[in-house]
Symmetry: C2
Subunit: 582 residues, 2 copies
């Protein structure tokens, strides 16, 4: 090594040692008589110094030429600092430079390489290799490394085998759009990049692999919403000879292991909630349970008072915002505007202030007197000082809208601390969901998910109410993992494809190999997949996954650093047997 | 779990325990009064039995219906076997069945699920999920898992960080053909799949990541020779602030760690050889050093005897095949035919038999008398009973041909035992190699490899003789890893591109981002990449990598199980803005 120590390593116990360090010049401070250099590498920062009159004049001259981000090799003697810095691990020492070599110069970086940078998003993406030098970004990727490491340690310890599944697979129209790869050896044919290794991991179960996992890249050619990436990473797992309970306990174990080893946090047992309860109480299949603010349904105590909005509503439901009775007219108007946004879709917002003096003030005072308002407030266990916010309308839409309002109130009340973690299993998802656009049922999870045996009889008569053996793991209101017990016999799988509107021919063409495999002794099996990028960003307390990916793409799916995608040569196109349309 | 134990777990100490096992019916033996079932899972095989008259009649009826590969759940009592089988870990016990449930039936598999199968390659590939049930294939993938696990343990222990680099990158004409991915959001533009994460790992060094690794899928759209796969896996590594010596010792350490932990073998320090020595002594840059049989050059003792083949040859060189003097005329003719094959390219083969009685018999007796032959034999330290095999001709071609002959003789003499391992570093590769087809120099390793400083002055005058800071790790005559110390400054990188025939514009278009990165403080760095599939197959003592890949493609790049590549819909093509040529 060109160094004897890293820049994060030296302590007071090493005083008088002769050392050589390498790294980047973070900054220099030239006081005339004394010149300090902060030298940085991945491991930390160490202070170096030269003294006018005492240090070699040539050394001083070289040091005075150093710019930010120059790469240098420095030899010297470890000395005790006069004024120690207890904020950095190397803060008790500094290096008295006796030799200094510039290993590489640097142009002035387009933004500062500091904890908080002055670079905008576009610039940071273009010079991603400089952005990666910044501590928070580097630490995010180090956290990711540790998450992967600990995931493997946990799963290896339970006899899981990591098996690599292929990246060049086959396009299937079901689900999201595939990225495809034209074949040169078979012109006119295409491989597809996997959206998940789903069918392969199921085949591995048919093969008897029993416990499989893989930390694996997956691909989805979707129009990118903020914080979606065309390539993303999953922790993909599958087990045989299990019940749903085995999957839940195994992967609850994984999550607890990660919290323990990566964050040093002992989390309690992961609570469970059915999909129906989640929708009823939180208006979401991924409720943020860092705070309570459960829905209260008040149809009974609000009807028949002449307020037509309530009387006509399928559902009247509200939340109690603790201590918000003092909200101003303006604040309440903002909340109303929020719920009336098209993506939220409510028609209006009703409020009831539980005043500190025990009286009530509401937007429906015309229809409800003090006693009636008190009666409603009682349903919420509201205390003086609280604010009740109510929506009314069609059940499903109203719940979703109130779910969004609940999150907003949670944020406004500071109840969504990124450094607090609340986990939840959501169970018993519906098997199918109706799609207005295609006017047919789609698999809510995917077509390989098994229906609950006790609901099978509803498949013909009430397909929408059939529950699946499907589950999601939710942390802080984000779905970080989801899975199911799979179908493992051909008749049930065929039935499922029929209900999803596949013709026998289509089903055979796309998944014939899997259905055939089910005829050669497929074991009962099930699994789960975690969104690794998202899981890492949650652990890192970040909103965006972007800094947990070394080289992310922008919202247009473009890597602006390497300038990709880009045109290819006409020879390449010709070899592939394809043309670009005009 | 649907089981209390696996099929590989029960021992004599568990006699009388009530257990439940699940697995596949390996075979049943019905002796009338007794019926045995071998139940198999990933962990082993356990024998089950039922007794006519004693066991429940219904159970017996169900058991008699069981076919091969049926999936069953069995409960029963662990009993001591009368006739024990010391060849299987569970051989001291058997399970007396008290309950039996068929979890899934199986059609008769198209080939036997045994150690050695009757299935041909095509059938095994089509039903890969059944082939994977066979012990040798499953064990190969378990070995692979262990290799990956131990690789990570070793590198994690040395502070390497695993960083995922992108899969959707940019096509570059240099090197092998890229697989490309048409962009839907940017019609007419394409991503490419990486042939290696080379530029990204170098950027990570520029970012200060210091020690990087990744076990990563790479892609090459090449015409597939036997045992090449379009997608393959690398252990990809890079380090900063190092010398070549640091790389060699770090990754020698990795290889020794893998031999120790995976194979239980302590291998000695890895010997080193220059590229020139390897070519001179073995005619190969990846010599199989499990056996000696070094080349001996005999121009001096063969010239001037009137044998024009020797006299005109740039090089006369041979090997001594120990104890082969008894080779028959037919055997010698076969060796001659071998070296004359077009892919070997020699014009003929000269032999000298060192007879047991101390005399010599050669194919050039017309030109060399006994004393002269003895003189030649002396150069080889040949003993009575040995056979000398000589080739003559142009230096490079002759060495390569003799290298092939040497390997053949090694095989014939049983010197290439798959369970013996001989490792070697080959160092000081040439920087450039002349390409007859393109009539220009190409980078032997890749364009980012640094020339040796002491050879830089030859770049203009004798580019072919400039040595690179490049190295390969060879095991048993197979290159399993290769790497180099990289260029880390823009002027040298530009110079290199110029010598490779890149115009300034081309270089900028393809690698502008890397050259620009070198201007912002790139540290000295270097690295290595190992072919993981090959490394695993070597450790597994196999010739082919195919069974160390769960779902390999055939030699036409096709996955015959899922039938990929395949056509895609016209809607997909339209969205991508491409057409398939007629």
């Amino acid at each position: 090594m060109l160094r004897t120590h890293t820049c994060g390593e030296l302590r007071i116990s090493e005083v008088n040692k002769q050392v050589t360090l390498t790294g980047w010049v973070q900054r220099t401070r030239d006081k005339g008589s004394l010149l300090w250099i902060d030298l940085r590498d991945r491991y930390g920062v160490t202070q170096l110094f030269l003294e006018e009159g005492k240090s070699d004049a040539h050394l001083l001259a070289v040091a005075r030429k150093l710019g930010r981000e120059y790469v240098v090799s420095v030899s010297g003697v470890v000395s005790e600092r006069v004024s120690k810095n207890d904020k950095m691990p190397t803060g008790e020492i500094e290096i008295k430079i006796t030799a200094l070599e510039i290993l590489n110069e640097s142009k002035t970086p387009p933004f500062t390489i500091e904890e908080n940078t002055d670079g905008g998003d576009d610039l940071r993406m273009k010079y991603r290799y400089l952005d990666l030098r910044r501590n928070p970004v580097r630490e995010s990727l180090q956290l990711r490394h540790k998450m992967g490491q600990q995931t493997r340690i946990y799963l290896d310890g339970l006899n899981f085998i990591e098996v690599e599944t292929p990246v060049l697979i086959k396009s299937t129209p079901e689900g999201a759009r595939d990225f495809v790869v034209p074949s040169r050896m078979h012109n006119g044919e295409f491989y597809a990049l996997p959206q998940s290794p789903q069918t392969f991991k199921q085949l591995l179960m048919v093969s008897g692999f029993d416990r499989y996992y893989q930390i694996v890249k997956c691909f989805r050619d979707e129009d990118l919403r903020a914080d979606r990436q065309p390539e993303f990473t999953q922790i993909d797992c599958e087990m045989s000879f299990i019940t749903q309970e085995d999957i839940l306990s195994t992967f609850e174990g994984l999550v607890r292991h990660l919290f323990k080893t990566v964050k040093g946090i002992d989390i309690p047992a992961v609570p469970r909630m059915t999909y129906n309860d989640a929708m009823t109480h939180y208006g979401s299949d991924k409720p943020d349970t860092r705070f309570d603010m459960k829905f209260v349904e008040v149809n009974e105590v609000t009807k028949g008072k002449g307020f037509i909005v309530f009387d006509d509503a399928e559902l009247v439901v509200g939340i109690c915002a603790k201590g918000c009775a003092g909200y101003t007219r303006k604040q309440l108007d903002e909340l109303t505007d929020f719920v009336k946004k098209p993506q939220i879709g409510a028609k209006g917002l009703i409020y009831i202030r539980c005043e500190a003096n025990g009286t009530y003030k509401s937007s429906v005072d015309k229809f409800f007197d003090e006693i009636e308002l008190a009666h409603i407030a009682q349903k919420f266990n509201a205390q003086p000082g609280d604010l009740l916010l109510l929506l009314a309308g069609e059940k499903e839409k109203t719940r979703k809208a109130l779910g969004e309002l609940r999150l907003l109130m949670g944020t406004q009340l500071g109840l969504r601390d990124k450094n607090k973690f609340s986990t939840l299993w959501v169970l018993d998802f519906p098997l199918l969901e109706w799609n207005e656009e295609t006017q047919r049922f789609h698999a809510m999870h995917h077509p390989f998910t098994s229906p609950k045996r006790e609901d099978m009889h509803l498949l013909e008569t009430a397909p929408g109410s059939v529950r699946a053996n499907a589950y999601d793991l939710v942390i802080n209101g984000t779905e970080v993992g989801g899975g199911s017990i799979r179908i493992h016999d051909r008749p049930t799988q065929s039935l499922m494809f029929t209900h999803l509107g596949f013709s026998e021919e289509e089903a055979k063409k796309q998944f014939g190999f899997l259905m055939e495999a089910f005829e050669f002794g497929a074991p009962p099996h099930g699994g789960i997949a975690f969104g690794f990028d998202r899981l890492c960003s949650l652990f890192g307390g970040a909103d965006s996954i972007r800094d947990f990916i070394a080289f992310p793409k922008n919202n247009a799916g473009r890597d602006v650093m390497i300038d990709s995608p880009s045109s290819i040569s006409s020879e390449q196109l010709k070899e592939l047997g394809i043309s670009v349309n005009d």
